[in-house]
Structure formats: C-alpha cells, structure tokens
C-alpha cells in the first residue's frame, strides 16, 4: 500500500500512543505527543480534538498533563483567543528530563522506605536465637539494597552534574 505523509503521521501517532499506554500513561497523552512532535505548527485544542477524533475534554486534561511533565508548552498567538501548544524541545531533552525526574523521585522514595524500616530494625533487640538470626538476615538484605540505591544515585548524579546532557556527552562515557 502506497502511504502518503498523513498515513505516516498516523502510524507514528498511534505507535507513540501505544508506547505511552505501555508505560502507564494514557493513550491520548501519547498520541498528543506524537501529533505535536510531527506538526510544524502549534495546534489549538479544537484542532487536536478533530485530528485525533476524541473529545475536547480529553484533549484539555491530557494536554495539561503533558504540560506538567514539560513535554509540551503553551504558545501565544497575537490576537488569538485559543490556546496553542507545541512540543517543548527536542526528543532528547524531553525524554531525558522525564527519565531523570522519574528516577530521582523513585530513588528518593525507596530511600525513604528503607531508612524508615532500617530505624525500626535497629530498635529491635532479639530475644530468641531465631529472632537474632532474622534480624541479621534483614541487615544483610538492607546492606544489599543500600549498595543498589547508592549505585543508582551515583549514575543519576553523573547525569545531572553534566548539566546539559547531550548525545555527544553520552558517547564520552567510558568504563575504565
């Protein structure tokens, strides 16, 4: 089948929509990202709703979701009442921003959980032999987990310290 540019745009929109769904975001959020990624011009809510054939309410909530994740941004047109949106930056900027945000939040959360349970563990004094074995078993696991968290944090900081992370910087990474 001979495809025109609009068919290709559809394929990409749907593929990104599916990818979003797979990662626990809504399909429409992904489709919107794809639509704006492959649109030369900023689009209004109505245009987006019409193009994706979904309700305007969905566009409204999903576009603000994308805005909060810094995937898209509002663009003001002189003398226009409508809200226009466009993709916020390059794919690289958007994806690395999202990933490092998620990574940071997740690391913080895991640290919190294990530091709390670690404190609780320290407050226990084992009475039986069995209890003492349990406690030291837990301590071993905690040491393992701490090592894991530290490594994740090391990697994340390597990225964040780099300030502006670019593909060029990535290629410079070496394991010595």
């Amino acid at each position: 089948m001979k495809k025109d540019i609009e068919d290709i745009r559809n394929d990409l929109i749907n593929a990104i929509g599916e990818k979003a769904e797979k990662f626990g975001f809504s399909r429409i959020a992904g489709q919107l990202e794809g639509l704006l990624l492959f649109s030369k011009r900023p689009m209004s809510l109505d245009e987006m709703a019409e193009r994706l054939e979904v309700s305007k309410g969905s566009i409204s909530t999903n576009i603000r979701f994308l805005e909060s994740w810094k995937v898209v941004k509002k663009v003001y047109h002189r003398g226009a009442r409508k809200n226009f949106y466009e993709i916020r930056g390059s794919i690289w900027e958007i994806e690395t921003e999202i990933m490092s945000t998620i990574a940071k939040d997740e690391i913080d959360r895991v640290k919190q959980i294990f530091s709390n349970s670690g404190k609780d563990l320290k407050n226990i004094k084992g009475k039986t032999k069995e209890e003492n074995e349990d406690i030291s078993f837990f301590e071993e696991r905690f040491a393992e987990i701490n090592e894991y968290i530290e490594s994740a944090e090391y990697l994340l900081n390597l990225f964040l310290k780099q300030g502006e992370i670019t593909p060029t910087v990535i290629k410079k990474i070496k394991i010595s």
Copy 2:
C-alpha cells in the same frame, strides 16, 4: 508504636507491592517479591497464600510471572511434592536484569517503528511545495530520533558488554 520483625516485613512487602503497581505490574507480584526477598527459607504456594492472605490461584499465576522475569526460581526439596520458590539472586542482579531486558526490548521496538516509517517516507515524492516542506520536516525529526536511539543503545551496550555488571563497575564510570 513498637514494631517487631513481622511488622517490618509487612511494611517492606507492602512497599514493594505498591512500587510494583506503580510500574504496571500487579500488586501481588510485588508483594511476593518482597516476601521472598525477606524470607530466609524458600516458601510453598500454600505458605505464600496464607502469609499474604490471597487466593492460591493468584499466587500460582503471579509466581510464574516472577519466574518468567527471573525474579524467583523453583527450589526442589527432597521428598516433597510441593513447589518451593526463592528469590533468584541479589537485588542488584534481579533489577539490572529486568531493566536491561525492558530497555533492550523497548529500543528494538522503537527502532522497528521508525525504520518502517523511515522507509515509507523515502517512497514519497512531494508534488507541492507544502508537501516537500512536510517531508523535510519529518526527516529532521527522524534524524533527532535516530540520535536519541543511538545514544540509548550506546549506553545499553556499555552495560551489557561489561558482562557481570556490579556496583563496583558502576563507580568506575567517568565522563571525560
């Protein structure tokens, strides 16, 4: 509130269950991972069902899900008919295995999508000026995406080539 070792185990099981849910896996799968992570001994399906207070059917399907992701493994007890399971390795081994599997699959999928659409794009000959602008706009985006994919692949290969990835290796990573 004074917590005993069982309370702490509960906290950890629930925290890991929630974390699993957040990442699109089932809560019980996460709870099972937590349960076995903090159990000195392998456990049978019945024991796990009783401990988590869920149906045996759920344990059966979820434990095999974890097995397929190499999070847990079967352990054979001499002269026992029940199936026993234990965690497959250290947290580090389990998590890096899962992450690199997901990353690899996802990169392959994205490559596939864009290589297909890239071919479709090459088959188009623009007639109007507008069409030609669209085509070259798409080509720019594709170049961006390819750069992104290449960087992701570079990072992944760095990890895979390392063979046995350890926290010690991670700390050796430098950006020069």
